[in-house]
Symmetry: C2
Subunit: 565 residues, 2 copies
Amino acid sequence: MSGADELVYVALGGAGEIGMNFYCYGFGPERDRKWLIVDCGVTFGDMASSPGVDLVMADIDFIAERRDSLLGIAITHAHEDHVGALSHLWPQLKAPVFCTKFTAAVAKRKFEDQGIAPAEVLRVVAPHDRTQLGPFEISFFPVTHSVPEAMALVIRTPLGLVFHSGDFKLDEAPLIAPPTDEAALGAIGDEGVLCFACDSTNVFEEGRAGSEESVRPGLAKVMRESPGAVACTTFASNVARLRTIAEVARENERSVVLAGRAMKRMVETAIATGAVPDFPDLIDEDRAEDLPARHLCYLVTGSQGEPRAAVGRISTNSHPFIRLKEGDTLIYSSRTIPGNEREVYRVYNRLAALGVRVVDADMADIHVSGHGYRDEIAQYYKLLRPAIALPIHGEHRHLAEHARMAKAWGAEYAAFAPNGRMMRLAGGARPEPEAVREVETGRVYLDGKTLVGALDGVIRARLKMARQGKVSMALVVDEEGELIADPQIRAVGAPVDGEGWPRPLEELIEEAVDDALENLSKKDRRSDKRIEDAAVAACRRICERHWGKKPEIAALVVRLDEEED
Amino acid sequence: MSGADELVYVALGGAGEIGMNFYCYGFGPERDRKWLIVDCGVTFGDMASSPGVDLVMADIDFIAERRDSLLGIAITHAHEDHVGALSHLWPQLKAPVFCTKFTAAVAKRKFEDQGIAPAEVLRVVAPHDRTQLGPFEISFFPVTHSVPEAMALVIRTPLGLVFHSGDFKLDEAPLIAPPTDEAALGAIGDEGVLCFACDSTNVFEEGRAGSEESVRPGLAKVMRESPGAVACTTFASNVARLRTIAEVARENERSVVLAGRAMKRMVETAIATGAVPDFPDLIDEDRAEDLPARHLCYLVTGSQGEPRAAVGRISTNSHPFIRLKEGDTLIYSSRTIPGNEREVYRVYNRLAALGVRVVDADMADIHVSGHGYRDEIAQYYKLLRPAIALPIHGEHRHLAEHARMAKAWGAEYAAFAPNGRMMRLAGGARPEPEAVREVETGRVYLDGKTLVGALDGVIRARLKMARQGKVSMALVVDEEGELIADPQIRAVGAPVDGEGWPRPLEELIEEAVDDALENLSKKDRRSDKRIEDAAVAACRRICERHWGKKPEIAALVVRLDEEED
């Protein structure tokens, strides 16, 4: 069985959570398989599960171990959840990267930041151009989404064609590109689609997402009604939206000022690569000072409540040049990513306290999703007519619902394949996809400058200290294990003193540790480990009894030899 | 000026955040003012801002210092955000507590848990009964909300009447109580309302919230369509909803099993107090084992993603007696409180992985809010015709929007009074409300068994350790400040080793600390503080350079006198 060619698929990220999209396709017999990666994304750490973590990436050991057989990495578009891990993980992969011009421009900067020469890595290809990589012939197919040059990937293999959707909607008026070429999709369907790996983001949403053009009247109305300045936030990469906002602002006699490095970079890149050549004129922040508020529109970052982005700074009146006040309006032309609500509302509240009116997509028609709703997904199924539906890009709940729906949409088979479940798509005895093995997957964190495994215990220990606090103690003993100085105790993240406590916490701990070590047998005192254990137990007992908590405890035992003194 | 009677108001909690409702009304001249508290609620800690904290309560120092002039505490209803802090904070207040029967039954258990005899504290009053407390005459007015016996509080004073709404909607079919008596509200309006302190929760929502009865067809449809067992979650205190679910289940030939202590307690209390006398028959969990899945409906806790509640345990297959599988359905007849999305979706995903279908209020008409939407709030304004609108119960953004809307709804004045802003409602030279002072407010955390101030630094230190990790070290020096043993280093929440590091982190730190202390002057070595500072600086430098982080550092210096050896 292992001698025959097979086409297999495994997600190392993206199928089972939002973000860190990382999909692998393999072709060949099991012992001599060639590999292709599609997308290499990140997600971000959060205080609840990964405090202090900057980026969360897929654990790619499985494919890194096979990098000699890795023929290429295709990046569908320039969103962080598709390209953000590329420069961090590429050193483990060292394969050529294929993408279109705009995406390459975004990736280039990331490689440079990591000290990797992009020219040696990036292969810029035009949409529809076919590239042969061993058994894979790949070509990008333009789709509509909330970033310039969003692409699906068509993967032709000797065992059939895979249409890997990337992120898409069916936008009739995407503004920065033509609508999706449905005839061309139909032609691919005619050619025969073995497998449709399809974005599941909005599989729960009925109907259609709405076109990029449709937000224009809503934005115009809100701007018209604002007696003062307007600041408008959306994702920096949504250049179509930025352009719409800028156009509406100018129609509303407002000069447009870009604020935030990410936003400036994206607009510059879109203009420079020709992805969005006709961006309205902007004015400099310095010139804005001379204009009345009524004639200003700021384009700002920070739609997800990031405290250090422009909106966050505006809300605390600490932005370098934007001050908003009573009569001004902050427009969120965006959607809050689930999990960020608390941070976003915190900013709303600060703005409300300043007298600034906040208008968001719940209050006006000023945002549409970049991901197609059910009718759009169904239309893709209708055109492509795949044998196998392979839901990707979603949490478990999305994948499960998508697999349920896919049969109604005409797919013969639907594969529920969360991260790590390797599916044989073709080459088996029967036509249906089959789970052939479970591959180890997981998460890797960028913590400061260092990569840390999610299961290394580093973050778990931090979460414990966050909940329970930390006690450090220094215990200096002689050769016999007798304390020769008072234990030094330092409790951090713990109350100093509490209602009804006989003494402050550190004193209570010191006393208890003193007693505990006194009560150790002569034999136990010869072991640093026994001393440490006894001190930890005594400390924990005191903390539980008075404080009601079990802190993380470090009992550092220093044993002095007589000779050393 | 301070000699004349005034009616003042100040929120210590609830006006500026969701939860921990705590409102104070004062009457009399400034030097001899009598006080009345309305509600005493909690909110819950979260990993992002208060890790390890069990309950978040208002800092009530302002009113505790005036407890000799405190005449009473009125509790409008039995939700945690209105009654949850009562037993914890009552020892600082020691005033009689007024509430209706069901609320008293809920509060009673809380007092007992804290070892306070409820009989000495609680005064059960019937709706509409008037109680004179010094200058305040108070009476409860029945409103409709998602808990039995929800009340507004009517406060009559010599300077005018305050209608304090509690939480309310205008439910035409609330099921466990008659609809709101709008004629009686109108009569209060006729009497003259000085001030309407009004719930702002749904001030952004257009239209009406919908009646409790309206969820019935949606629930029936979902239950009918589920081929297997059904489990249904909602807030335990929403006894009307529990009853509806139980009734629909029985119509659908499903026996109903209650799971979760909170749910059992609430239903028992509702039956025992007569608040909901006619609850459908339930069956025991033991009997459920003998029934086919198709004939079961579990009522379960955990709608907010709490890992240890019933739904959380079901999702990890660790519930004591409920096992759900392919074909079964989990119904969320609830709304996710903003900030809990991540936890709730985590549970959804685990259920999806088990093959369990999740149906929530986004997917079917199976939930209505307990708080009125704009039309309902407007109707209250129409009936009460207050001079002053006083938005309460909401974040800043809600209060600001409510104040903006209130004038359109007919109020002469609207007071934007977040926590701590004391407003004079009557007794000033002019009729409009006026901010007279800012009172110190804040948050107090129940951390284990101990109350901790939000600004004590305890939680800040824990958050720092969560983000940056912690290094503890023991430095044993002699009288001259020479190290007489190797520094003991323990790094927690830090990577042991990293890509490109010459040695593991603890070794790098030890080396750097050793060097740093060697380089200290003779004079500096005589100071433990100088030694500590030098060690901390050296450790920080190493961590920043290699790891890219600034951990929390405890450098414990133990100085041994020669005599002691």
